[in-house]
Symmetry: C2
Subunit: 278 residues, 2 copies
């Protein structure tokens, strides 16, 4: 099995959790003086409850050099508290091959992420430089969770191999085809569970990163049922603001811990009901 | 006229140049000890010959914090040598609305770029947070210059308004529609001059950022003729490696200066031949 998939499966198994916690701190919303203190509090409180952390690079870049220093410290802290935890760099980078190789170097060699999110608009040679890091995960943004997702991703295209299909399904077929190292995954928005099911049929074993859900969201059940592989795994249900801002007072860490435990337990209850317990 | 367009037109007019110089330094190729020294040498030698500079963020991110510090110093130096020069942050950022707003803050408020490149995959709400900075330019990646461009950008889609058209043309129509502030532009690869012509028909006044050309490239003539607006302006012909590595010895700055002047003069000769001199 691919080394990244092994690490991902193990990271989830260790905490019996398919939760990915999104570290998207915004100075205006956090009750601490800086985002490193905030992130450390969140990580310390939740590191036994999640399968992965996902810092979203936009929220660090928004703060310039200080933000990137905070990102570096956050990653270092996660490594300190767990040497098996998967850390996903959510940057959705994508560019022509030569530039994509520089981004891959930045994300994997510099920041040291275990996996990244990438943007597929530039085609195969814009994704392959990431996939070439065969022990790292590459989640391709396939069907997003926002209103504008339908502007382009749902356009009907004529595929030579698969006939008239929506654009995002063509992306899924292509990634399945390019996935020579077995380290590709897809980002599939939770707000569209039917699309998750159809895409799981195309890519039976790929890990799906599923954002767009809060712990109370009705779509959770559908996303889990439609997203899991036949073994009942290979999804990461991501929540960011729903977890880190569960309590916006000084008790933020405890609030995040409770919200994260609830989300993990809700997911596990669905797995149990399907006869696929840990 | 939109403030960014005015600034762009003025920046080009000041040096009578439609050249955009791409600052994509790689430690392995530069003859100086660091990339700041290299960039400063290039900028000092070429600042009277270009209409814009375009640092590609990948090459700074590849070096981590040190790279981002170098980017900050490079931008500061460009501002020192010219207070009218357009600086384009080539990051091709794109994500759902809330995240896109954080990226826009990073690119415009933190780095202080005059314009950015963005990725359109997430649809309208992923682009609007950039367009909302109405005095800044937003170049949407439309048709790229790499081999993989055709994987998705050339797929035939059925548009309600415009019938069966290639994906990239649909993107052009959409951007034209979303361009309420008049600050949108497109990235159009020079390797496909026919596509540039067809897109210019859709977007008559938008600035086009045209990468993928070297100073000797036969496509230059077609790109300029097909790309210019009716006034003979509104294109930036970008060259990165073709200019900054024109001479890979200690004489790199002089080499870049000569290559940049040659590209500028070749473009201006084409404008002259069309009866559209400065």
């Amino acid at each position: 099995m691919n080394a990244f998939l092994e690490n991902l499966d193990w990271s989830c198994q260790a905490n019996e959790s398919l939760v990915c916690l999104g570290l998207d701190p915004e100075l205006a919303r956090i009750p601490t003086k800086d985002i490193v203190t905030f992130n450390k509090g969140i990580v310390e409180a939740t590191c036994g409850l999640v399968g992965a952390y996902k810092p979203n690079l936009a929220f660090y870049e928004a703060l310039g050099l200080a933000g990137f220093r905070a990102l570096e410290e956050t990653i270092r802290f996660i490594r300190e508290v767990s040497d098996t935890m998967i850390v996903i760099g959510d940057g959705k980078r994508g560019d022509i091959g030569h530039t994509a190789a520089a981004y891959a170097k930045g994300m994997f060699d510099n920041w040291g992420f275990d996996a990244v999110t990438v943007n597929v608009y530039g085609g195969e040679d814009s994704v392959v430089p990431f996939l070439n890091y065969s022990d790292k995960g590459v989640f391709v943004w396939c069907r997003s969770s926002n209103p504008g997702a339908s502007d382009f991703q749902d356009l009907e295209i004529k595929s030579q191999a698969n006939g008239q299909i929506p654009f995002y399904k063509h992306v899924a077929y292509e990634i399945q085809d390019w996935n020579k190292n077995g380290n590709a995954g897809l980002v599939m928005g939770a707000t569209y569970p039917d699309q998750i099911r159809e895409t799981r049929e195309i890519c039976p074993d790929m890990p799906f990163l599923i954002p767009g859900i809060g712990s109370q969201d009705g779509a959770l059940d559908h996303s889990v049922r439609n997203g899991i592989s036949s073994a009942g795994r290979r999804i990461l249900i991501n929540s960011s603001r729903g977890l880190i801002y569960a309590d916006e007072t000084k008790n933020f860490a405890k609030g995040a811990r409770e919200a994260t435990r609830e989300l993990r337990d809700n997911i596990n209850a669905i797995l149990d009901s399907l006869g696929l317990p840990w």
